[in-house]
């Protein structure tokens, strides 16, 4: 029986349910020290003096590190971030001094005895004020930092500028009957992964190298970032990643890692562990980037889109971190899964004095889809068109050209929307159970590309007992990677699912892989597994032919058993390898998949770099109930569909869809890192509210299939598109229910109530004037 396509339980389920799975936070090494960090109480200040004398005298303290001890900077796109602040702090919570001690308690006690004198500097606390001509500069030396080749504005706070244009904008707007211009905002969010940022670092004086055991979604990229920062060859840094307790796009740079490395340098030979508390994780790790989005959209009276121009202003926080890519690529999603003849965006990211930001499930699509899909409904309402109908009218079809002219292939563009509309009973009205309650329904859809080109390498190895080991640097971040990769490996080779294992990712032994991000793992690693699996299979059958004295062409390998055609089972893979006896034998194959050079990427001249190897389209429909007296929104039901290609594990796909809805609902209604004078005012889970099971509505997960020519076992991706449509679907349902449009997230009860009251006041005023006339 094949494994791909079956509803299999997660391969890591037993380990995780019984508590034996080893996460980053579980790691304990001999001689390990524990770190603690003194963090900046100021949003922006000069460090005048640091006195560590008292801290050094605390019993158990083995090392104290200040910024001057670690004269390096890191950053995937701009090398702007010190390991520990050197002469300036740029956000409340920035690490300033770190202590390593025998116990965490000793380290924390010592940290409290460090004295730092600061001299306050004027702070930049939001994106708009960062653009002011006289705004203080968060990084006066921006122009001098080593960085990639993206555009910046020197001697300003603008650390990223990205533009994209396709088609004739002027003609598109000229042709429009109505031009809509609206502004939307999306708030700062915490990834709030169950496992906070945690790392163990060790410095090896003999090789001048480091080993980093950490909880990250990208071992190789992290290794590259750290090696570049320290001026080391990449192989001098080894990164090992076991189970990751959730990433959601948040575990991709040096957070706990930077502090652990800084301390490890001061305590050679002793591993140093640093684990962020929940409060540090909320306020001083990495947040979803707040965005202001201005959309200008030209429409014909029948709802046909003629042109769209988008302006993004991203509040990137104190360091560029991995947010640059979000500012550059994220805005593409603002054009939605719609045929628009002329499109343009201008995206600017600015430094501000708040915690650094970065990617968040969907890489900018949660912000972009919020604007796009809210405005689609605003357009539909103004023009008197059904929200489903306007989306149908503009929706992509397989074979359409995408925003860069690339021909869209391997997607099922229409079905997600149709399926969720049907599932929610679109067009029918459910009666609210009480007079102060109103019911409403809303739709939203979105499109997501994947980072292209990227590559994945795998090594497959058959052990002496016939078990199959998959070596690849694709950490299981909780989304089910280990299960789908095992399923594909099992089928590619012809062994049972429980004969497959994936050891922890280790840059010293695993071949290169891109990050577990951009919903790319199943497709890219799966492609490499498919190729390597075929080779293992050939080798296994050749070996079997040899030992059994049969022509390999007459043999088949299925469920780990070699079967001779017309004869029957002959031997298991393990038995064959055992027959090599004392001489020993293992079967190994390696393969690489890269999307570079695929003929599918052909695009209009000059726009090939925008191409994507696949698209994912998702849609959600929400039914909500609004309490018009309190402003409370209760989400009753959400139908959510995603085009995944072919599901490798349908249960896993459904779980991703359901988890995406919960996450989307949580950030639509509750979550918001509120900044108050530079400090996050709600930096504990008592006040930063994340949806709990009690808030979860009935969810109808719908898997939509399509045929992608390059997809391994037909599979594309699912992780990111699951989350972005929820917030606009709820906001659209709110408008359906009570006629108010809220363009800022989150949709808090206070905001909803204020909007309802304003609308009532407007109606009374309008009613009054009608009466007079």
């Amino acid at each position: 029986m094949t494994s791909v396509g079956r509803r299999v339980p997660r391969v890591d389920a037993v380990e995780k349910v019984t508590g034996s799975a080893v996460y980053g936070a579980d790691l304990a090494l001999p001689g390990m020290l524990h770190g603690a960090v003194l963090r900046s109480p100021h949003a922006h200040a000069r460090i005048v003096a640091v006195d560590i004398a008292r801290a050094e005298r605390v019993p158990g303290v083995r090392a104290v590190a200040t910024g001057r001890d670690v004269p390096f900077t890191f950053g995937a796109s701009i090398r702007d971030q010190p390991f520990l602040a050197v002469d300036r702090v740029r956000f409340v919570g920035e690490p300033v001094v770190a202590v390593a001690a025998d116990t965490e308690l000793q380290a924390q006690a010592a940290v409290e005895l460090v004295d730092v004198a600061y001299e306050g500097l004027p702070a930049v606390l939001d994106a708009r004020s960062a653009l002011a001509p006289d705004a203080p500069l968060v990084h006066p030396d921006l122009h001098a930092y080593p960085r990639g080749n993206h555009e910046i504005v020197e001697h300003s706070n603008v650390d990223t500028v990205a533009r994209f244009r396709h088609g004739d904008l002027a003609a598109g707007f000229a042709r429009a009957d109505v031009v809509f211009e609206d502004e939307f905002s999306a708030q700062a969010l915490s990834h709030a992964a169950l496992e906070t940022h945690v790392a163990v670092a060790a410095y090896h004086p003999a090789s001048r190298g480091y080993t980093l055991w950490t909880s990250s979604d990208r071992p190789f990229q992290l290794r590259g970032e750290l090696a570049a920062a320290l001026g080391l060859a990449s192989s001098q840094v080894r990164v090992v990643v076991g189970y990751v307790g959730g990433s959601f796009g948040g575990k991709n740079t040096l957070v706990a890692e930077a502090v652990a490395v800084a301390l490890a340098r001061q305590a050679p030979g002793r591993p140093v562990r640093v684990e962020l508390s929940r409060e540090e994780d909320l306020t001083a790790s990495q947040a979803r980037m707040p965005a202001l989005v201005r959309l200008q959209t030209g429409v014909l009276r029948d709802g046909t889109l003629t042109a769209r121009r988008a302006e993004f202003l991203w509040d990137g926080g104190a360091y560029a971190s991995n947010a640059v890519g979000v500012a550059v690529r994220g805005p593409k999603a603002v054009f939605g899964p719609y045929r628009i003849p002329a499109v343009e965006y201008e995206s600017r990211m600015v430094y501000t004095n708040r915690q650094p930001t970065g990617s968040y499930r969907g890489y900018g699509t949660t912000q972009a889809a919020w604007a796009c899909e809210s405005q689609m409904d605003m357009i539909a309402r103004r023009l008197g068109i059904d929200p489903l109908e306007i989306r149908r009218r503009n929706g992509y079809e397989d074979g359409d050209a995408w925003i860069n002219g690339q021909v869209m292939h391997g997607l099922n563009a229409r079905e997600p929307l149709e399926r969720v509309a049907a599932a929610i009973g679109w067009g029918t009205v459910d009666r609210a159970p009480a007079p102060h309650l109103r019911r409403g329904k809303g739709l939203a859809t979105m499109i997501k590309e994947t980072a292209t080109p990227t590559s994945s390498n795998v090594v497959l190895k058959v052990e002496q007992d016939g078990r199959l080991v998959v070596l690849c640097a694709a950490p299981e971040i909780g989304a089910g990677q280990a299960t789908v990769l095992s399923q594909m490996a099992a089928d590619a080779v012809g062994v049972p699912l429980d004969a497959v294992s994936l050891p922890p990712a280790d840059t010293a032994t695993s071949p290169y892989n891109g990050p577990v991000a951009s919903s790319r793992t199943t497709f890219h690693v799966g492609n490499a597994i498919r190729t390597a699996g075929a080779e293992i299979r050939r080798k296994a059958l050749a070996l079997a032919g040899d030992l059994l004295e049969v022509d390999p062409a007459d043999l088949d390998l299925s469920e780990g058993v070699v079967v001779a055609r017309g004869v029957g089972p002959r031997a298991t893979l393990g038995e064959l390898l055992a027959r090599r006896g004392a001489e020993g034998c293992s079967l190994v194959a390696e393969a690489r998949y890269s999307s570079a050079g695929s003929p599918l990427l052909a695009a209009d001249p000059g726009l090939g770099s925008v191409s994507t190897i696949f698209w994912m389209i998702s849609a959600q429909a929400a039914e909500i109930e609004v309490d018009t007296e309190t402003g409370v929104i209760r989400v009753v039901r959400v139908a959510a569909a995603a085009d995944v290609g072919r599901p490798v594990n349908p249960v896993g796909c459904e779980q991703q869809i359901e988890g995406g809805v919960v996450m989307g609902l949580s950030n639509a209604l509750f979550e918001d890192l509120v900044l108050d004078g530079g400090r996050i005012a709600n930096g504990t889970l008592a006040d930063y509210k994340v949806a709990t099971l009690q808030d979860v509505p009935e969810i109808v997960p719908i898997i939509v299939e399509s045929d992608h020519p390059e997809a391994p076992f037909g599979a594309k991706g699912i992780g990111e598109p699951a989350a972005a449509a929820t917030a606009p679907a709820i906001a659209n349902a709110l408008c359906d229910a009570v006629g108010v449009r809220i363009t800022d997230l989150p949709l808090t009860p206070a905001r909803v109530l204020a909007a309802i009251e304003a609308e009532r006041a407007r109606e009374v005023a309008a009613g009054g004037s009608t009466n007079r006339s």
Binding site: S277, V632, Q694
Partner: protein, 297 residues
Amino acid sequence: MNRLRPFVFHQPTTLDEAVRILAAERGAARPLAGGTDLVVDMKLGRARPPVVVNLKRIRGLDRIEPVDGGTRIGALVRIAAIQASAIVRERYPALWRASCTLATPPIRNLATIGGNLGRGSPAGDMAPPLIVHGALVEVEGPGGRRTVPIQDLHLGPGITCLAPGEVITAVVLPAPPPHGGSAFRKLGKRGGGWDIALVGAAAGLVLGGDGAIADARIALASVAPTPFRARAAEAALRGRPPSEEHFARAAGIAAEEARPISDVRASAAYRRSLARVLVLRTLRDAAGLALDAAVPR
């Protein structure tokens, strides 16, 4: 991670011993019950008591028992036990409702009623229903035993009238009045219960032989520095028929007399709107129960 700072931990098995240790340490010692509040504060560094006195080894403080027609609830009774109590459910609906929405089931399994009051929080869920039920708080201290009416317990945010060494041993609820009904509702940040109150409201109504409101009590959480008794609203109801019109008027008065502040959880204006809506709804709930009780079967 945040680690707990070292502290001296006492585990007395008698009330006398507990009081003696607490009194000897003067203000430096803190009693510990469920720990759902104190331990969180200690981890975050908001509280750093050098001495902690565990009350949970003391026997007899965890019972719900009848006394003189009323009911005595020991300080160590867990919120989950209140929720599970048939006596509370039948006789004290406001308190029972509050126990159903206080935090989450895991917290309710640890959190105690004594800790909820000892915390002195204006947002606590137990005080408003206890005010409506007319509860007395039993306190034991170095000077012996005394009884405090529940509305006199709180002096300010996080401040109670307990002297160093004094601990709450129980709350005593009188017998519920005949033809009465009570209710509790709250709204948390996530729009429902199971969360610290943005506003909580408890109401109790007693109907007279003429069908009019003989007595009304309204108490609110999170709208003032202490649990807030809306006396003007109560007065506006006395002698009136239990009608929507009078409930709406009383709710408006309660919202006016409340003194909410703006903080990271909600603005004062929004709290005031909520106070009005929740008082109106609890009055309706309470009236429903009172009318049921008044109808001869």
